[in-house]
């Protein structure tokens, strides 16, 4: 049975549903910019938690991680530690970021950091890092969508067309409903893609048992892993990729999703800071941890017992869907895979367009822009980002995982600033600015010019240079004064004002 026509119909219905949500969200009255940009700051626990999960759960996870695990083995699985560590970040940092943003009515990260450190340069740097982060990340989703269409259509739809179609659909509903539309669709898509991951894991188990009827599942699973050789069980050699320094730095770099400018807006849109306890512990650490450590391992490492050759490791999940699933699981999983890309692209588009509208247009071009004008410019920015991302997805042909970690390598350069505004008040403006500039340049050089020197990931090099600049800069120059502390650290501990006297 040719399943592709079914997939086309189901995808069309699913995208129509997304557009209807966009129209519904667009009915919200926009009295002030935060009504559109932060969904009025009233998103509840389930919506925020699932939206945050869906934004992380992208093509990177469902295609990239499974495929890279299949190709690299146990060493790749070690870096999944970033998922529960992101849960720790969520519980520790996000309630504070929420409080600072809402108390001072900051909508974007650039407003927050720029105001705390009194620096126009920092505002611009945050916007640049936000764009450097969002473009590859959205491009990664578009490339994933293109690959999905190409494999599942048996080559009838070329990857480039698939990428453009997803781009158009996402533009339409984000254009209409802003962050509210993205968050509502993310909630539904988050649930769908958890289901898709479970189905993928179950399919891998079924396929392994079917191909090895005479031995137990665990025996067959273990045999597949052993057949890949000793290198599949161990780390890479020191100085090469997948050695422990590479794993450590790629794990830390991946946490750059949480320090990126678009993500902060999702944090500020929550109704209450209590959301982040649930999000960090239940969703990120337990649900997503299980998706990574159990279901991803079943598909990626179990895949060794099912498929021994692939044109590209990114195709592993799609091959399982195409060749080993019945019609109903095929439809659910295919839609789940598309949902992963849809939701992530939509979330980042909504937030990055806001950043460009508020922090560039309103700040420097038209400071008196009305709320409606800001929203209009934000919508235009959505078009621009998608256009650049489509080009990026067609030009940079690295593996999905590598494109993803390039994006987060830029995002993690804002970690010292996030720690500075929430926990460590001694960090100075000069230190932060120098750190972001030198760190971002280092990331670009160690990705494009000298890839992974000494077997350390570009995000690790960037962060190392960044931290050195922050420490030296903060020793030599003065930390933010009492006024800045009143808006931030004093919210959590009044005694900081006494210390600063």
């Amino acid at each position: 049975m040719d399943k592709f026509p079914l997939l086309v119909i189901a995808t069309a219905l699913y995208w129509i549903a997304c557009l209807i949500i966009g129209v519904y969200a667009s009915k919200t009255k926009v009295k002030k910019p935060s009504d559109y940009f932060l969904a009025g700051g009233g998103l509840g626990t389930i919506v925020v938690s699932f939206a945050m999960m869906a934004t992380v759960f992208s093509a990177w996870f469902i295609l990239g991680h499974q495929g890279s695990l299949w190709a690299n083995g146990a060493k790749y699985l070690v870096h999944f530690i970033h998922i529960p560590l992101m849960g720790v970040m969520s519980a520790m940092l996000f309630p504070r970021i929420w409080a600072i943003a809402r108390k001072n009515e900051y909508i974007t990260m650039a407003e927050m950091y720029g105001s705390y450190w009194s620096s126009e340069l920092l505002r611009v740097l945050v916007v640049i890092v936000g764009a450097l982060y969002a473009v590859p990340y959205v491009a990664l989703q578009l490339r994933g969508a293109g690959l999905t269409f190409e494999v599942l259509s048996g080559g009838k739809i070329p990857a480039a067309k698939g990428a453009i179609v997803l781009g158009i659909v996402v533009v339409l509903y984000v254009f209409l409903g802003g962050l509210k539309a993205a968050a509502i669709t993310d909630t539904l898509q988050g649930a769908l893609l958890v289901l898709a991951s479970i189905l993928l894991g179950a399919t891998a188990v079924g396929a392994i048992m079917q191909l090895n009827p005479d031995i137990s599942f665990f025996q067959a699973f273990g045999n597949g892993i052993k057949s890949a050789g000793d290198g599949y069980l161990t780390l890479g050699k020191l100085g090469e990729i997948w050695s422990w320094p590479y794993i450590a730095t790629i794990a830390i770099t991946t946490m750059g999703i949480y320090t990126s400018p678009p993500y902060m807006m999702l944090v500020a849109s929550a109704k209450s800071p209590k959301v982040f306890k649930f999000q960090g512990f239940i969703i990120m650490t337990i649900v997503m941890g299980a998706m990574y450590y159990i279901f991803s391992a079943l598909v990626g490492m179990g895949g060794r017992s099912i498929i021994t050759k692939l044109a590209s490791s990114d195709q592993l999940s799609l091959e399982l869907v195409f060749n080993h699933m019945g019609a109903v699981p095929f439809l659910i999983t295919s839609l789940g895979i598309l949902a992963a890309m849809n939701s992530t692209a939509a979330g980042y588009l909504a937030n990055t367009s806001t950043i460009l509208s508020r922090d560039l247009y309103t700040r420097y071009i038209n400071p008196n822009a009305s709320a409606k004008k800001q929203v209009f410019v934000g919508r235009m920015m959505v078009l621009g980002i998608v256009a650049v991302s489509v080009v990026f997805s067609l030009v940079v042909l690295d593996y999905l995982v590598m494109i993803g970690t390039l994006a987060t390598a830029f995002g993690i350069q804002l970690l010292p600033a996030m720690i500075g505004i929430t926990f460590v008040r001694k960090i100075s403006k000069t230190g932060i600015n120098a750190g972001i500039i030198c760190g971002s340049i280092t990331v670009a050089l160690t990705y494009f010019v000298w890839p992974h020197p000494l077997g350390i990931h570009q995000g690790g090099w960037g962060l190392l240079v960044n931290i050195i600049c922050v420490v030296v800069g903060s020793i030599l120059t003065q930390a933010p004064g009492k006024e800045a502390l009143k808006k931030t650290h004093a919210l959590f501990d009044k005694t900081v004002l006494e210390d600063n006297n």
Binding site: K32, I81, P84, W244, K274, Y293
Partner: protein, 100 residues
């Protein structure tokens, strides 16, 4: 140096540092052996153990450790937002010439 973190709570940060060194740092080399534990590589089992430890740590951080009073801040901010919304509505009424 860390805002709002009491002396007794600093262990969380030390624990995280030691954890990172062991689970994703040089400590990883101790488990870098081509050994299978049942059907799984030793590194896989080791990583799984790290996840379980972080589940426990995250529960403690999220639900047992409070480096500031979330409820107090939430209430303060909600009151501030409510006041501003009321002011906004009153301004709109005044603009329309209605009595406030």
């Amino acid at each position: 140096m860390l805002t709002g973190v009491k002396k007794g709570e600093k262990w969380v940060f030390w624990f995280l540092l030691v954890f990172m060194l062991l689970w994703v740092g040089p400590g990883l080399e101790l488990f870098n052996k081509p050994i299978m534990v049942g059907a799984f590589p030793l590194l896989h089992v080791f990583s799984f153990g790290g996840w379980i430890i972080l589940i426990i740590l995250n529960y403690i951080i999220g639900y047992k450790l409070e480096t500031f009073s979330v409820s107090d801040i939430e209430e303060e901010i909600k009151t501030q937002e409510l006041r501003k919304t009321q002011e906004f509505i009153e301004c709109q009424k005044l603009n329309k010439g209605e009595e406030v």
